[in-house]
């Protein structure tokens, strides 16, 4: 891997990032709005108040628009796996097969079947059956997300698998270990709860627009109450799962954690920089060191976040790159050597198998397995170790903006809930405008979360095992570049269509109950 075509790697990465980010513009609203609609319909069935039916149908229509525009955009990511990332696809094939197959079946049966009842079934099936269908759509969409997040979590923390050197691919040895790995469970709950927050902000923002326009006041206030309670509960869960993410990251992806915190030198009682400004460092001799020009710290909080112990030692970028014997941290040089042994042993094993020399094959296999945990580092034996450090400023700032916005949403939910309960929200135009303009902020926070997760783990496609330089297909960079722009045009078109249809439907507002049979 000494001669890597970086334009191929970079364009392939850029294309995957573009499609994943666009895809994720559609996903979170589906995940959260489905539950909000289910809560609203539950209120309708419980109270038989027709106003709740109008409210449910309005938000259900927006859910339908988002679902229709976003559906199948994720398929493009699977095309990219097969074309641009064939080494990776083969390497992980069996791990991904089961979760993605379950996702496909689940999405098809649960979502597709019950979505039809949800939209076409008003006045045709019983109220209770309709409500059950709405809940099953919500549960189905969220379970679909579970499987794709399990697959993603496996790349961050490969558990429950064994590498088969004859087939050059990982094979699942324990499905439950893959599904219930601490990283997978935490990632699922953190991602879906963040989607619930985004959806709550969306509902509150749109309702705020109605209040600003002095339209549909009762509809808007009832919607705000459901969404702000849902958003508050989801926000509390995000704090818990966010804490879990930090601990998982500190244990399994210490470089991502150090980059996210801009921690260069590891320390005990490590402080957390709540706010910080990074200084550009031009010193070539120091690996990716970024000094702070300004910071506000909370003493020992980083150690507590990472290991639930104020005295715990949190390794920094320097410890991970150069090693730290006192804390049993191997240097990247040592890991690249072990990785190289692992790669060479795999080649030896394959050759010995081909010539029928079983004793050499067995020795090579033992050496390979002993060093497999460092396999991916072998590709950096003759390369700059800087390539093994992710983009620190991007990870650091993305995390802080995301968390800052998270607290902004909590404050918004609380304030707007109290004001609506006291029936004073209609006069608070500043709060209403804040709620409205928080809609794009929720999308920004959501994307930033993925930037922390995915940029922070670079260069790994599979943590410590497979870097992006070894995962790409040997195809022409120009073809990847062409499809990058093709996707950019298609996705932008879909986004514009979504926004236009959404806005026109919002401006129309909820239909009067008498004519609402044709609103689906």
């Amino acid at each position: 891997m000494e001669h890597v075509d970086f334009s191929l790697v970079d364009w392939s990465r850029a294309q995957f990032a573009l499609t994943a980010m666009y895809h994720y513009l559609f996903v979170p609203l589906t995940l959260g709005l489905s539950f909000i609609v289910a809560f609203m319909e539950t209120q309708y069935v419980r109270t038989s108040n027709p106003e709740w039916k109008r409210i449910t149908k309005f938000w259900m229509t927006l859910f339908g628009i988002n679902f229709a525009i976003g559906v199948a955009t994720g398929l493009i990511l699977e095309f990219e796996f097969g074309t641009n990332w064939s080494n990776y696809s083969w390497f992980v094939g069996d791990i991904f097969g089961a979760p993605l197959a379950i996702e496909g079946i689940m999405a098809f049966f649960l979502e597709s079947t019950f979505i039809a009842v949800m939209f076409f079934g008003w006045n045709k099936v019983s109220k209770k059956f309709h409500l059950i269908s709405t809940w099953l759509v919500a549960i189905g969409s969220n379970l679909s997300a579970l499987w794709i997040l399990v697959a993603n979590a496996w790349m961050q923390y490969p558990a429950g698998m064994k590498f088969n050197p004859d087939m050059a691919r990982n094979e699942m040895v324990n499905f439950w270990e893959v599904l219930f790995s601490p990283v997978a469970m935490n990632k699922f709950f953190h991602t879906v709860t963040s989607a619930y927050v985004l959806s709550s902000v969306f509902v509150i923002g749109v309702s705020a627009w109605f209040l600003l326009k002095h339209r549909e006041l009762l509809f808007a206030k009832k919607s705000i109450i459901v969404a702000s309670v849902f958003g508050l509960v989801a926000s509390l869960l995000i704090i818990i799962t966010g804490d879990g993410s930090a601990r998982n990251m500190a244990q399994h992806q210490p470089m991502k954690f150090a980059a996210m915190e801009n921690l260069y030198k590891g320390q005990q009682n490590a402080p957390l920089a709540v706010i910080g400004l990074l200084q550009k460092n031009h010193t070539d001799t120091i690996i990716r060191k970024q000094d702070f020009t300004f910071k506000i710290e909370i003493p020992s909080l980083l150690s507590i976040m990472a290991f639930q112990d104020a005295n715990a030692y949190v390794p920094g970028v320097d410890d991970l790159v150069n090693g730290n014997k006192q804390h049993n941290i191997l240097s990247y040089k040592e890991r690249t050597e072990k990785g190289k042994i692992s790669i060479m042993s795999l080649a030896e094993y394959k050759n010995a198998k081909k010539t029928g020399n079983d004793s050499i094959a067995n020795v090579a296999l033992t050496k390979f397995e002993e060093n497999y945990a460092h396999f991916g580092y072998g590709y950096y034996a003759n390369r700059d170790v800087n390539e093994l450090v992710p983009n620190i400023p991007l990870t650091f700032y993305s995390f802080r903006i995301m968390v800052g916005l998270g607290f902004h949403f909590i404050a918004l939910f609380l304030v707007i809930l109290i004001l609506t309960k006291k029936d004073k929200i209609g006069k608070k135009r500043f709060i209403l405008y804040t709620a409205l303009w928080s809609i794009p902020l929720a999308y920004i926070a959501s994307e930033l979360g993925w930037i922390v997760a995915e940029v922070g783990r670079q260069p790994w496609v599979i943590q410590d095992i497979l870097p992006s330089i070894a995962a790409v297909s040997q195809i022409k960079p120009a073809s990847v570049q062409l499809t990058f722009w093709l996707f950019f045009v298609i996705f932008t078109g879909l986004l514009i269509a979504e926004i236009k249809i959404m806005l026109s439907q919002i401006k129309k507002g909820p239909e009067p109950e008498s004519v609402d049979l044709k609103t689906n």
Binding site: G64, I65, F79, G82, W90, F119, F120, A168, K350, L482
Partner: protein, 66 residues
């Protein structure tokens, strides 16, 4: 039973308003994804270039160990 299910979907689609626009978008989108992107721009690299799993695994091992 089957007739009822057919009628349920038929009436549902017939009475759609905004749904018609959305279905048009879905159909165009799926057409672009499967008939243009998948066919012309995204062939499966390993399936196109190799016939058997053995050939594919040998190629990958060569790629990973070169």
């Amino acid at each position: 039973m089957l007739k009822n299910i057919f009628q349920f979907y038929f009436q549902g689609f017939k009475n759609m308003t905004i749904g018609k626009k959305l279905w048009t978008i879905i159909i165009i989108k799926l057409g672009i994804i499967f008939l243009i992107l998948k066919l012309f721009f995204f062939p499966n690299f390993l399936n196109t270039n190799f016939k058997t799993d053995e050939e594919r695994s040998n190629y990958i091992i060569n790629q990973l160990t070169k």
